[in-house]
């Protein structure tokens, strides 16, 4: 029994080491475009695994990511921009004096971004988790809209629809990749503890979970706040990567994309969420050649912008037809190893 655990740990360490090596290799050898895509993949990995915790593992259908990512992005941007840079770009209204005073280094900015999101999630969970049903989806959907509208209509803080620009570009592959690794480890540690078990129990049968003495309100709140924290951090990394953010970035489409990722990868599987991210974010870039004119030898096709989305949708339909629980189902990478070992 002990040897098996030790073997697991070696596998984990090997995975982490190769991931770290890949980050180093990619940022020293790959071109800027590839690194940019890898940055996107890393950030969306953070978002997908955390979204999967509330939506897949705990089974509470939620549509919150765009709201919390927006909050994280704005908090980080406001903390990273110095007073002069802010005063210079607020064109619609003069910023409040306290907005000019906000200042922190990157680590604290990300931490505050996550904490602020998590605190908002905590306040939302009190009304939402007192009742059962799909209220969470409705409330979080509305929450996303409210955040966007607040961002547009409070130009004294957010510079309205013009958004915030010239955010210092702190994010690089070491940051995004490093946080992604930490996020995945953290989430897996939660999933493989009594809290993760209780989350799965809530998903499978909430009444039975209560009959086992599980405080389901507390468990759902933990999952929701953890998701929100990491989504805030991910939003902060995104802001420091894009260097400019505006409310239009955080529409419902943002959440929708994450929903596709976790459903494609397999609801409830962290490994699946990572695979889904690579396929959706990386694949969308890789399939760009489909938009361009193509020469098949016998005939040529003209440029068809949007063709890659058509192909992507067809692939998605086929995955859902033949793997109805997504690519990984509810399994993790380690489960695949176990299967092989038994046979």
């Amino acid at each position: 029994m002990n040897i098996v655990i030790r073997k697991d740990q070696w596998i984990n360490l090997a995975i982490i080491a190769s991931a770290l090596w890949f980050i180093w290799f990619a940022s020293t050898h790959f071109d800027k475009y590839t690194v940019r895509i890898l940055n996107n993949i890393a950030i969306f990995t953070i978002l997908a695994v955390s979204y999967n915790l509330i939506n897949g593992v705990t089974g509470q259908f939620s549509l919150e990511p765009n709201g919390f990512v927006a909050i994280g992005a704005y908090v980080t941007a406001l903390l990273l921009l110095d007073g002069d840079a802010k005063e210079y770009q607020y064109d619609i209204e003069d910023p409040y004096p306290w907005v000019l005073g906000l200042q922190a280094n990157f680590v604290w900015a990300l931490f505050f971004a996550g904490t602020f999101s998590a605190l908002l999630a905590l306040t939302l969970s009190f009304p939402v988790f007192r009742v059962r049903g799909d209220y969470l989806a409705i409330v979080t959907l509305g929450f996303g809209f409210i955040i966007r509208i607040l961002a547009i209509n409070n130009p004294e803080i957010t510079n309205g629809s013009l958004g915030l620009n010239d955010i210092p570009e702190f994010s690089n592959l070491y940051w995004t990749g490093g946080v992604a690794i930490l996020a995945v480890i953290g989430i897996l540690n939660v999933v493989n503890s009594k809290y993760g078990r209780a989350m799965k129990a809530v998903r499978d049968d909430e009444d039975a979970a209560i009959a086992m003495g599980v405080n389901t309100f507390k468990i759902k709140t933990f999952a929701f706040c953890t998701s929100a924290f990491l989504e805030g951090v991910g939003g902060g990394l995104l802001a420091a990567l894009l260097t400019s953010i505006s409310p239009d970035l955080f529409t419902f489409f943002f959440t929708f994309q994450l929903l596709i990722i976790i459903v494609l990868g397999g609801l409830g599987s962290t490994t699946g969420a990572i695979i889904g991210t690579v396929l959706v974010i990386g694949g969308a870039e890789w399939m760009r050649f489909l938009d361009e004119p193509m020469n098949f030898g016998l005939f040529e096709t003209p440029a068809m912008p949007g063709m890659r989305m058509v192909v992507f949708s067809i692939i998605l339909i086929f995955v859902m037809l033949f793997a109805r629980e997504g690519i990984m189902g509810k399994r993790e990478l380690t489960d695949l190893f176990k299967r092989k070992g038994k046979k």
């Binding site: 953290g186 009594k194 129990a201 499978d204 039975a208 009959a211 086992m212 599980v214």
Partner: protein, 255 residues
Amino acid sequence: MILELKGVTKKFGGVTAINDTTFTVNSKEIYGLIGPNGAGKTTMFNIITGNYQATEGEVLFRSEKLNGLKPHTIVRKGIARTFQNIRLFKTMTVMENVLIGFDFQANYTYLESIFRFPRFFGEEKRIRKRAMEILDYFGIAEFADTKATDLSYGQQRKVEIARALATNPALLLLDEPAAGMNPAETKELATLIRSAREDFDLTVLLIEHDMKFVNQLCDKVLVLDYGKTIFEGKPADAIQDKEVVAAYLGDFAHD
């Protein structure tokens, strides 16, 4: 006595599901709750476990009032239950199902699990060992890593009882434990419940329709009919009781 119900009434709108029921269950007793369908037996369970609130009356567990407490708090005080239709966690293994019962007994915080503090490993090891002991007791240890819903019906029943025992209860509520079992399985279950009472220091309150099973097992029965208590006493006497027979088979005398 361990459980005491005093004048419990439960009304759903105009329907009275339980009408002024009073009974006490003594420590280490196996107490049967019987009656025709719709008599209010499962409602009674739901009142004891806190899923429903009694319209009137008191529920006392070890002389402590349970009215108004949340269901998960009542479980932590020492009342566990199984369900009429088996409700295992279907994506989880047998082991994980039983470990859920230890959820509130593992002492580590959320942050300790994220950062893998030493206490996490110690507590996990402790509850896994105890879960294995319970699985061993029920003879299903070999299925620990099998998906719970892949087991046979009888074994799933055992997992459900094992899971309930994992919460370390003093009082175990079994809702039709023998339903859907063949005579051999029923007999085995009766032996198991009787020995579990000794080994886990249990008081058992059960709902059952199988009168043979009740006769074998129960020290005392309460017969309910349309929410009213019509008999309390030894199971053998219940079968002789005119009113009980009338409730089950119809009142021939007046027809």
